[in-house]
Amino acid sequence: VNIDRRQFVAGAAAIPLLGSCARGGADVEMWAMGNEAAAMPELLAMLGAGKNLPSVSVQPLPWTAAHEKLLTGFAGGALPALSQVGNSWIAELAAIGAIEPVPAAQGAMLDGQFEAVIDTCRIGNKIWAVPWYVDTRVQYYRRDLFAKAGYEAPPPRWDDWKAALHKVKRVAGEGNYAVLMPVNEFEHLTTIALSAKAGMLNAEGTRGAFGNPEFVAALGFYKSLFDEGLAPLASATQISNVWNEFARGYFSVYPSGPWTIGDMKKRLPATFQDKWGTAPNPGPEGTGAAAPGGSSLVVFRGSANSANSWSIINALLGQSGQDTLQKLTGDLPARKASWIAAPNIAAFATQLENARALPKVPEWERIVSEMQIVAERMLRGQFSVKQAAAEIDVRANRLLEKRRWMVEKGRAL
């Protein structure tokens, strides 16, 4: 048996796994995170792994450490055969050559999925990952307070939406606000920017486009929410219990993802359950956009038998695989056929149909955190809207310098 260095390192790294895995020497090794990792054993048993499918050993990773672990795994040649990955990491993994593109023969798995989600996996005209479950951000709102202010739901147009928030704030009373957008979270500003159809980077992803009128308009709208006293100038660490504050009326709109449905049900009393609802994000001219999120499945380049990995992914994306995933985790399956009809879910479907992919460059996470640093400073009065947009461009261009060089040399995707 010939063992090269990469396999040797991978094997050495896997030794601790063998102890914890009842079935050492599984055909395929897989990394998974969070809830999905916890559901994997049951899901795989249901699909018949080890019988009509290759056997799989799953290593659970905490979300907070997963990204670093993938990169160190790549650096040390210790990656498994396949893994769940956050959709925002795909560009990076593809750029460093860690993952295999989805073979054309496997394309059927992408049928019946949301176009914007598939688009996040498409880089350089190739699909690099198979979306597994999806999420996006919608607004959670207080039905009762909106009703008192004379609205059935938050209006979809920015102007009307803001007018409604002013009324809701009055209804909620002294000391309360209308919407919570923690100033250390960039997702709120990117949602507004996507709704305003801002590109944020140029087409090749080599320079910032934050100075474009669409983004400046989005930034101005974002700032006005704080200036007009609709949103508290607070970071997430200052709101110790979001759900309690939501129930108390400290804010009546909270943009968040599908995981919040479970939290609302678990953490708030039964009497409160008819007092909240979900709605798609507002936009300048009507229903706005959001970034498609969720996780996808990837096969790592150079893993021994990638056919095994693809057959596992195929099973996970099949009707029963997607149905069971939904049942075990409450996730929104990537394939629409496995969606269940439930209240508060419809807004996510609408929002995903109106989703737009964020720029797909490895530097994006860094750019977007710089964007939020500047935006927070703007909210605290250090920049005007125009100055802030220009400053974000300066910082983005600095971060993209290497990518420009790579594109020039023809080495970037």
Binding site: A98, T237, Q238, S240, R380, R411
Partner: protein, 298 residues
Amino acid sequence: VIATGRPSERRAGWLLSAPALAAITLFFLLPALASLALSFTDFDIYALSNLANLRFIGFGNYTALLNNPLFWQAMGNTMWFVVLGVPLLVATSLGAALLVNARMLKWRPLWRVALFAPYVTTLVATAVVWRYLLHTRYGLINYALGSVGIAPIDWLGNPHASLPAILIFVAWKSFGYNMIIFLAALQTVPKELTEAALIDGAGEWSRFRHVTLPAIAPTMLLVAILTISGMFQLFAEPYVMTQGGPSQSTVTVLYFMYEEGFKYWSLGSGASVAVVLFLIIVAVTMVQLRFAKRGGAI
């Protein structure tokens, strides 16, 4: 000393220190040189995938660093930590050491253990407790301040209060270690001197000022150097308490380096931060040693 020794002694000396020297070379000197080399390249995720994407960029990382506002903010924050934290820590630990060394104190071993305990408690666990203590609305600290009529302070949310909040936590967490060093030094102060001063009519303060302090001056220097280099390398406390926020008000140089190197994998740029930090600590220590020599502490 070596030059005057006999050749066989010299050989034995080298032989005995060889294991330690080998370990230092392998685990300290080589990595330090490697990171110095790394700091002149733009090692990033692209280079991780293919070394052909690695560029030698000379002082590029350093000029980028000097033009990066976040680096200067981190530097400024670190300076505040040093300027405020070092006197605070040295004074607290010396005070505590004097206290647990005092003869009139009962249950001295118990007090020593109690005051040393924070230092050996897990940082993350204590951080959780301190986050509760510092809570704006339900925290004990604001409750205490409220009882003397001070309005609640948003310790971890206000960019002006977060640094002092971390500083209080750091001081509480780490004064025990310095206290032990001071305690050991205090016990070597000759009793005869103190008694002689007492007979000469020296009061409590002048005995401390003219007998105790000169006797523990070298220890004071050691503690000051350790504390300064510790404060320059502050990382874990802001990492678990505030993650650098709010508004980057608690980003320290080391936290900045961690983000560059391990969050974004810009190892070249991260290495340049490490080199700059190393140079600063060396420079500050040299200045300190010079002052100490002039003052006769060593």
